[in-house]
């Protein structure tokens, strides 16, 4: 049975609430959101609110004047509890007000002593000792890092020193789970090398694609709207770079772009691209949006974590990040 929050109202953002720009940190697309904070014991009303709309009426589709329970929380700001709403920014050209299952949960994914969200976030360094993770002091943790690092350099040399980390990290500006270690290793200790989760270096998941001149998703997003052909290799942008797909690639398809997908999986991106062209699934007709799937190279793809992430467990896996 579907989980329900049983939340059927939310506090209204008052006029004069603090407004902050937020860039979603979950994938590399960079969608814009607006964060609003205001004192805990105040709130707006249906006729006096942050947006000057009459909230006693039903709002239309794509309205700025609505936010979901996942976009609300209570957090600490300058030592005080404040209401927080983080909602998609309709004026951001990247997402034009669209929210993904990742970004639209940024508020809910903040640590909160009041609502209890993300209480499992670490407050002390943890060290693996005696077969389990144990909390320790910063002095002890840094001493351990220093001794291990010094031993590697003594035994070999600085070029053998690698940091193994994960990117796409946690809530708060990306890399938060590795932010402190990043400062330590790269700013202070000047370590030269790193690698991320499933790869031997900080590289594309599609091996050697950068060497071939095919970089990942680093073009002007407007290019997707005017290009003749979109070539997707081992990626599933409708799920993993949702708003880049919905807000730019779909416009490209509407403008006549052909889409070629090289992927052993039948992803929702494949379905959507086929539907955009009106093509029958698996048909090999001459439709302009037909998907060519005959050039899949399964051996080259590491497509771990390809299940659909629902809002309970967000996906942080940009396949080409």
């Amino acid at each position: 049975m579907a989980y329900k929050r049983n939340i059927d109202r939310l506090p209204i953002i008052p006029a004069g609430a603090k407004e902050h720009n937020v860039t979603c940190h979950y994938c590399i697309v960079g969608c814009g959101y607006k964060a609003y904070t205001w004192p805990l014991k105040t709130q707006g009303s249906t006729d006096s609110n942050w947006i000057g709309e009459d909230l006693s009426k039903q709002q239309a589709a794509e309205t700025e004047a609505w936010y979901a329970p996942s976009m609300y929380n209570v957090v600490k700001q300058n030592g005080k509890d404040v209401h927080l709403v983080i909602k998609p920014d309709v004026n951001c050209q990247v997402n034009s007000g669209l929210g993904s299952i990742r970004g639209a949960r940024m508020a809910e994914n903040r640590r909160s002593d009041v609502t209890g969200t993300q209480k499992q976030r670490l407050t002390d360094p943890m060290v693996w000792r005696y077969g389990t993770w144990q909390p320790t002091s910063w002095d002890d943790a840094l001493d351990l890092v220093a001794r291990v690092t010094a031993r590697v350099i003594d035994k070999d040399n600085e070029n053998d020193l690698y940091v193994s980390m994960f990117d796409h990290g946690g809530s708060a500006g990306g890399y938060e789970n590795t932010w402190g270690t990043g400062k330590l290793y790269f700013e202070s200790m000047k370590v030269k090398h790193c690698r991320i989760h499933n790869r031997p270096a900080y590289m594309s998941e599609v091996h050697s694609s950068r060497d071939m001149g095919v970089d990942e998703l680093n073009y002007n997003y407007a290019d997707y709207e005017v290009t003749d052909t979109i070539f997707l290799v081992g990626t599933n942008p409708m799920e993993c770079q949702t708003n880049l797909f919905l807000n730019h690639m779909v416009k490209g398809m509407q403008n006549g772009a052909k889409v070629v997908i090289s992927d052993p999986r039948r992803t929702v991106t494949v379905d959507r691209v086929e539907e955009a062209g009106g093509a029958k699934r698996g048909a090999a007709g001459a439709d302009r949006h037909r998907v060519g799937r005959g050039i899949a190279q399964p051996a080259l793809h590491l497509h771990w974590g390809s299940g659909v992430g629902r809002f309970g467990l967000h996906r942080q896996i940009g396949l080409s990040g």
């Binding site: 579907a2 609505w66 329970p69 209401h83 499992q120 929702v268």
Partner: protein, 175 residues
């Protein structure tokens, strides 16, 4: 091992829905200034009991358009044909949902073949046999389902909703 436990902890926090208490507490602050005795803050808003239809009017797997809690909140009343958890009526198969997609508020249409509501805006899909669970999509909540009561005459009444309806910050609009 540790990692798995953290995931579980996160899931538990999520399922606990910690925001609820705060929404209730915040609602208490809208009481008129100067009122010496605070009114009781309700856990959820008060819903109207609205007659939607009679059982005899429903055909299996053919949704009927409804509006609940008011006419500006479109929904469907649906007899599924087989009992489901949360289903009302003598056969336990009558359900009602909002048809505004909780992602961006587009009107969804019913797909009878797999009993899902489908969004034309960004392709989200919701399962009418599973309490409106999102099959796939961009919404960060499952579909609001309307609580139903069927009386002795077979009249079907809607009396509540279990998620925030798109486009309103209170399911029952307030002045």
């Amino acid at each position: 091992m540790k990692c798995n436990r953290l995931v579980d902890a996160g899931r538990r926090q999520f399922l606990r829905g910690g925001v609820l208490g705060v929404a209730g507490a915040a609602a208490a602050t809208v009481m008129p200034a100067g009122q010496a005795q605070a009114q009781q803050a309700r856990a959820m808003v008060d819903y109207p009991s609205t007659r939607l239809a009679n059982l005899a009017e429903l055909k299996v797997n053919e949704p009927m358009d409804i509006g609940y809690p008011d006419a500006d909140s479109p929904g469907i009343l649906l007899k599924l044909g087989s009992p489901v958890e949360g289903g009302a009526g003598p056969d336990g198969d009558v359900v009602a949902y909002s048809v505004l997609c909780p992602h961006k508020g587009f009107y969804m249409s019913y797909h009878a073949a797999d009993k899902t509501l489908n969004c034309p805006g960004h392709y989200s899909r919701f399962d009418c046999e599973k309490g409106g669970q999102q099959v796939w999509g961009h919404a960060t909540q499952n579909l609001p389902q309307f609580a139903l009561r069927v009386d002795d005459k077979g009249d079907i009444y809607a009396e509540g909703a279990d998620e925030l309806i798109y486009g309103r910050l209170s399911n029952v609009l307030q002045g």
